[in-house]
Symmetry: C2
Subunit: 393 residues, 2 copies
């Protein structure tokens, strides 16, 4: 059957994180998954979702059960237009940012295009690199966002078609791009004529307010395409988000959306739209931020302890779900297998870069686990690390 597959089928690869996670074999009944990048189950507004879904069933709005346009379900697009303060001509509903990235890449990218991304970044960017055979450039990340001087030097010597960036509480590093760097990136995008793909699912989980998006800072909206998803603040299972883009881009994105899956579920769009419009929504978000900040602090204390004893290092994230830690010892992929066997599962740094090497960094998600699992997981990490140091050269 091999001869049946398209050339594209040969280019596409399994998600890097999954490859690593498929390679582990926890030997304990109760593994702790610092690897899972999802909201905490207790933070999912289950009762609100049920209440609002029933309100929707009772109200039975026109066309709720029908196909909607590729652009989105009217009442949802209307809510997004208000909350994002942007005309409807700039809005399209998506099934979340994975679809947002896929549609934007289909619209923009040709084989061999130059494609910049943060070094390190979320593996969805690599799937674009593989599918389109892109000339990928990893731009080093600093505490306040990517190294814009490095990017500018790169642009002086080579053409880039697009830059993929997660500006808030970045996955995996937790870095939030400063306002200065956001402004500089917009300048560069107009000067060197590339598109910024702004993937922003963590903005509402910044513990203490958020800077303006690059899309908001883009004066003409001609160089930035903005992707938002409700996966982190409502539930991944909602599969609902949106794209904000210049109408010239949006019209084409609607054509791709239509042939890709016709439309996003109007029922899910209605549910998301009603929930963010509900008076409880601000409290729901505040509760989540408080919860995740507490989790971040626990992880910070654990890191301080490991810094004193093992020189681990890591910058404190301003929000989101992830803590990025440098354990100062190469080959963490080997350690990952050992630690997973002992019941503490994390994602090694290699999953977030195309450059393989003796990586010393790991990503811990402090959101998903229960309180008990966190405590248990931290001590397992410590023991496992000490064991690994002994056994490995």
């Amino acid at each position: 059957m091999k001869q049946m597959f398209s050339a594209l089928s040969g280019k596409i690869k399994e998600n890097a994180i999954d490859v690593y996670m498929d390679s582990i074999e926890p030997a304990v009944r109760d593994p702790v998954f610092f690897s899972v990048g999802m909201p905490n189950g207790g933070m999912i507004p289950k009762k609100e979702l049920q209440r609002i879904m029933n309100e929707i069933f009772e109200a039975d709005p026109a066309r709720l059960y029908e196909y909607c346009s590729a652009k989105g379900f009217g009442p949802y697009v209307d809510v997004i237009s208000k909350t994002e303060n942007i005309p409807e001509s700039y809005i399209m509903a998506t099934n979340g940012n994975t679809q947002g990235v896929d549609l934007v890449c289909r619209m923009l990218l040709d084989e061999g295009d130059g494609f910049a991304m943060e070094m390190y970044t979320y593996s969805i960017a690599f799937s674009a690199v593989h599918q389109y055979r892109l000339k990928a450039v990893g731009i080093p990340l600093e505490q306040d966002g990517l190294d814009v001087d490095f990017l500018e030097k790169t642009l002086q010597t080579r053409r880039l078609k697009a830059l993929y960036i997660i500006p808030n509480a970045q996955n995996p590093t937790g870095v939030t791009t400063s306002l200065e760097k956001r402004k500089k990136l917009i300048e560069l995008a107009y000067q060197y004529d590339f598109i910024i793909i702004e993937d922003d699912p963590y903005r509402d989980l910044l513990f203490h307010g958020r800077p303006p998006s690059l899309f908001e800072l883009d004066p003409l909206k001609e160089r930035t395409i903005y992707l938002y998803s409700f996966s982190k603040v409502m539930a991944p299972a909602m599969r609902t988000g949106f794209i904000l883009a210049h109408p010239a881009f949006l019209k084409k994105l609607e054509q791709f959306k239509q042939v890709t899956d016709a439309c996003t579920s109007p029922m899910n769009q209605m549910l998301a739209g009603k929930l963010i419009s509900s008076e409880n929504w601000p409290q729901i978000l505040a509760k989540q931020k408080h919860f995740y900040e507490k989790r971040k602090d626990w992880t910070k204390r654990f890191l301080q302890h490991m810094h004193e004893t093992e020189q681990w290092e890591g910058a404190e994230p301003a929000g989101g779900l992830f803590y990025w830690i440098d354990v100062k010892k190469g080959g963490v992929t080997e350690w990952m297998k050992m630690a997973a066997q002992d019941g503490a599962v994390f994602v090694p740094g290699d999953a977030f870069t195309l450059e393989r090497g003796r990586n010393t960094k790991i990503r811990l998600c402090f959101a998903y686990c229960s309180d008990e699992e966190m405590k248990k997981g931290f001590s397992r990490l410590e023991e496992s690390f000490k064991k690994w140091k002994k056994t490995s050269t």
Copy 2:
């Protein structure tokens, strides 16, 4: 911004049906939409959907709100495995058959591949032709399915990579492929080494039972990929369906699904899975079939009347939502605009073929309208047709 678009962006086109529908301007307050290919609002099991959704919220199954694998949400895949009587390794959840077609095309097709389809067929096939610059062949449709002799002759002279077919109550013609022709198609697929993409959303709306699917008839499951959607029997807004394919295909489809939108909403999968497992489901389907058969009969009587007065012709469909009518006068696209203005909207035959010409055929959806609209719409069609005959040469 033009220079920003990918080559693929230049190939993709707006859906043919939409292009025609965007061109009309009803001059009446109450246009009748025979053009809308959707279930009747009264046939949507709204109360059941609400009841079951609440059962799900109350039961709160593990991982309901999380991402599931690209393959699908466990309990849903389990239900499909039982109802379709196929191992789970052959199943993947989709957002419906538009996505099914998109993923299968990505997996199979390269630029310039030979691609056969029924002449006439649903426009989603054309989007594949445009995106992949396929060498398209329209195979004539007969009362019992496509002309397999024509297909075989074609295969003797040229290589085909895939055949796209809607075997039951086809859109737009209403034709159901006979068992003999299904068997012959499987033979040809193995003999000439092409893949049958079986798009089957209408199977459960056949009024009096259905023949085995081509996938069921495929002995090794190596030449048929099966696509099902709950859009016609539950609600288009569910955006839930599934692909059945050989595990060798399914593994690759999972990779495409993952980079396309991560997964189909586990909430929607759970809702669909519970509904088809509920004891009421057989009655819900029976009620729909009875309703649509009655609508088919009304349309048949209207056609008989128009046959006597205007020589219209059309074969009675064995199920589904559509009646395909030959009005025996070319240029129905002009008439469409006139009829729409007078308040009766249909889709002209040209929307279902790549071959433009003075088409004499139209598609009437007898499902979507209300009873009153149907009656009103039929008389508007008759008056409008007589008017068109006079005014046009």
